[in-house]
């Protein structure tokens, strides 16, 4: 996709537009040809106004000065096309993520784009924002704009697409026409085999309560105390919409952003962790949501990343035990099947799935009692995804308590023994695996009714 939009150059192959071969060596050339890419992470400047963002880098000029009048009018026009009723002078940072996304689309429209590529556009949107986006996409289609919509969320793909192309390992794995598009067909192409094997569950024994939380209040949701328990050998999923306070709850529990209050008991020992250091000494581990910012030291070796949390435990006095460190890295690389040319490789150069495995290895080295995972499979390929699900299963079987947050409904339904659903900072419901239905979870997540909650 980056090649189409002129961000990267093609090594080989041909690109035809309107039947003519094209080659874009930069983003401007692609833009002029009518191709616009909307990145997963928005490429906008928070501190500038909406209109300034729309025209960033190609401000209309009159005698060298920026022509504010043209900008204002054009900004109004494209904003109305995407259904945004805001002043073009609004500072971008004041808008919600969903609206910022629409501004990005407006920006693409103002370049007269005929092909708009959207890379995981809903990954950080709330339900209503996503629906707004879908309406806009419908509008684009009527206006004759082609949309390439990249998504892991098969439900969205099914609802939106006229045609589906599935990629696996950088290759085209198959096409589906409108009438062939269904969930199982897509997954089959993605995994390369049948779906039933994808979420493979084995029976695991659920034991005693390991983690008990009462009245936990995070800084972001001070008015909604949260109570729940997790047993050993249990995999608990936390569902909910973006912004429901799930990540904040995990961060408060782990002491990453100290909680305002609450009682936490881990294996019978009471006390609220005030720092990650304290949390890990109590047997908690957190695989954070943003791997690159919070999970990894990108410019350190695989080995050094894996040993970071257990370094102190394994040290002889203040000295690093290098033999132990190497042994640990070997063991973890094999156990988790991390694909790396060597233990010295910098974490930066590994794929998302392998990076996530390194973060997991760092924690598994400590043999935690409770493993907290925040969006454990975000942005990783489907093979690694499956491996991570298997791992979660295996850890539960070995008696660990696993608590994970996920925005992917299938993931919750496929992996969890029990689901907690959060809505606006509180737990709006809880259900056991046998009662899982997509509608019931969605109802709780959107705060509609409490039917089906057990």
């Amino acid at each position: 996709m980056k090649i189409l939009a002129g961000v990267q150059r093609a090594d080989e192959g041909e690109l035809l537009m309107d039947g003519k071969p094209r080659r874009f060596s930069n983003v401007q050339e692609a833009q002029e040809a009518g191709v616009a890419l909307i990145h997963q992470e928005l490429n906008l400047a928070d501190n500038l106004s909406v209109e300034a963002n729309i025209f960033l880098g190609r401000e209309p000029r009159r005698m060298g000065w920026i022509n504010q009048k043209v900008i204002r009018e054009e900004a109004r026009r494209v904003l109305s096309l995407v259904g945004l009723e805001i002043s073009p002078e609004t500072i971008l940072g004041e808008l919600t993520l969903g609206k910022q996304q629409l501004v990005e689309i407006a920006k693409a429209l103002s370049t007269n784009a005929r092909v708009i590529i959207m890379d995981e556009p809903t990954s950080s949107l709330s339900m209503s924002e996503a629906e707004m986006l879908f309406d806009v996409i419908g509008g684009l289609r009527q206006r004759g704009v082609s949309v390439i919509y990249i998504s892991h969320r098969l439900g969205e793909v099914k609802a939106l697409a006229d045609r589906v192309i599935v990629f696996r390992d950088g290759k085209n794995a198959g096409n589906l026409e409108r009438e062939e598009i269904d969930h199982d067909a897509m997954v089959r192409l993605m995994v390369g085999r049948d779906v039933s094997q994808f979420y493979q569950r084995t029976l695991h024994q659920i034991g005693e309560v390991v983690l008990s939380v009462k009245g936990l209040r995070s800084v972001q949701h001070p008015k909604t105390p949260v109570d729940f328990q997790v047993r050993s050998g249990e995999v608990v999923g936390i569902a909910g919409l973006v912004g429901a306070g799930r990540s904040e709850m995990l961060a408060a529990l782990f002491g990453a952003e100290p909680a305002l209050g609450g009682e936490v008991t881990i294996s019978g020992v009471e006390g609220l962790p005030k720092s990650p250091a304290e949390a890990l000494s109590r047997g908690l581990a957190l695989v954070p949501e943003d791997r690159k910012e919070q999970g990894l030291i990108l410019d350190m070796a695989v080995k050094e990343n894996m040993s970071l949390a257990s370094l102190r435990r394994d040290a002889r006095g203040p000295f690093i035990d290098e033999a132990k460190e190497r042994a640990l890295a070997h063991e973890m690389t094999e156990a988790l099947r991390v694909k790396t040319p060597g233990l010295w490789q910098l974490a930066r150069y590994l794929s998302g799935g392998n990076q996530q495995k390194i973060v997991l290895a760092k924690w598994l080295a400590l043999k935690p009692k409770v493993l907290l995972l925040d969006e454990p499979t975000r942005g990783i390929d489907i093979g690694a995804k499956e491996e991570i699900y298997r791992l979660m299963e295996r850890l539960a079987r070995e008696g660990m308590a696993v608590l994970f947050v996920s925005s992917e409904m299938e993931e919750i339904m496929g992996v969890a023994d029990r689901a907690l659903v959060m809505h606006e900072g509180r737990i709006s419901g809880e259900m056991m695996r046998d009662d899982f239905t997509e509608e019931a979870i969605m109802d709780l997540a959107t705060g509609r009714t409490l039917k089906n909650a057990s």
């Binding site: 990650p276 890990l280 030291i297 690093i320």
Partner: protein, 322 residues
């Protein structure tokens, strides 16, 4: 070793050029003198390297040199303190200054640049107030034994010897290397310089480690300040130690420390310091180079070195991806 190759080549080139341009350069006396200068300035560079590795900066080093450097003879000569007690206080002052900086940076979340810029002004101002802006020193006689620490050397051959400040630097470097490469604290410094949040979430007390780096930096600055005054004997509070922090930072950066944090080696910092000193020596010795052009030449060499380093790095990064 890969990342110090560039600076090592720079050192050899500057060294050979100077030797070719001036006959006295290779003389025993001049070589000893250079080691002595490298020793004195190197202690400061070593200190700032710890801070730079954590992605911080310390602009107050020169003023700490001034405070402790002027304070030592002020206490010993003016107020009759025992030298050992005065040295003890000097080190304690360094430690407290570092602690102060570290606490402001970690607990109040102030920016290192701002905190230590204020330090730069405050400690110099305080020294000038304390000493009434009068020149401080040990005089011509009476403290020769004490001053040996800064002036003495282990004789090797003729006029060539290993000066004490250089030997002290070597000892500190060995300790520094063990600290950075062999202990968990060293690993934590590199990790947090690279990604503080991820390091903290891995259960490391990052605040404590950052404070430690500022303490080490100011402690070494105060030690350096004392050796400078023992070596040079007299100091003007108004300009003593001026620009020393910049020499220290320049040497560390030349030696491969990145201001983006998480990178640096002790050996590189030592060689970086040596390059700076050989350059200075060259400017002094070579007749057609004017002394007042020192900054111009040092600045240009630093710029070229950093540019070459960046280009080489990009090349090897590209190779790695393909």
């Amino acid at each position: 070793m890969k990342n110090i190759r560039g600076i090592l080549i720079t050192l050899v080139v500057v060294y050979v050029i100077t030797a070719l341009l001036n006959d006295n350069f290779l003389g025993g006396y001049n070589q000893s003198k250079q080691l002595e200068r490298t020793g004195l300035y190197g202690i400061l560079s070593l200190g700032v390297a710890f801070v730079i590795i954590t992605r911080g900066i310390d602009l107050s080093i020169g003023s700490v040199v001034c405070l402790v450097g002027c304070g030592l003879p002020w206490l010993v000569v003016r107020h009759g303190w025992h030298p050992a007690a005065a040295v003890g206080l000097g080190l304690a002052v360094g430690l407290l200054i570092g602690l102060f900086h570290g606490l402001l940076i970690t607990k109040l979340k102030l920016q290192p640049f701002v905190v230590t810029l204020c330090g730069l002004l405050i400690y110099r101002g305080a020294t000038r107030g304390l000493t009434d802006d009068q020149s401080q020193g040990f005089g011509n006689s009476g403290y020769e034994g004490f001053r040996e620490w800064g002036t003495g050397e282990v004789e090797i051959l003729g006029q060539f010897g290993l000066p004490y400040p250089f030997l002290i630097l070597v000892a500190l470097s060995v300790l520094g290397w063990i600290f950075l490469r062999k202990t968990i604290w060293g690993r934590y410094l590199f990790a947090l310089g690279n990604n503080e949040e991820a390091t903290r979430l891995s259960g490391v007390h990052t605040d404590r480690m950052i404070i430690l780096s500022y303490v080490l930096c100011s402690l070494l600055a105060s030690l350096g300040g004392m050796l400078f005054i023992l070596n040079g004997n007299s100091a003007q509070p108004s300009d003593y130690g001026n620009f020393f922090e910049l020499y220290a930072i320049a040497a560390a950066v030349l030696g491969g420390c990145s201001l983006r944090g998480g990178e640096g080696t002790i050996l590189g910092v030592l060689i970086g310091t040596a390059v700076m000193q050989v350059l200075k020596n060259m400017i002094n010795l070579v007749s057609w180079l004017e002394t007042h052009q020192e900054f111009l030449i040092v600045g240009l060499v630093l710029l070229v070195a950093v540019m070459v380093d960046e280009i080489v790095k990009r090349r090897s990064a590209k190779k790695r991806i393909i």
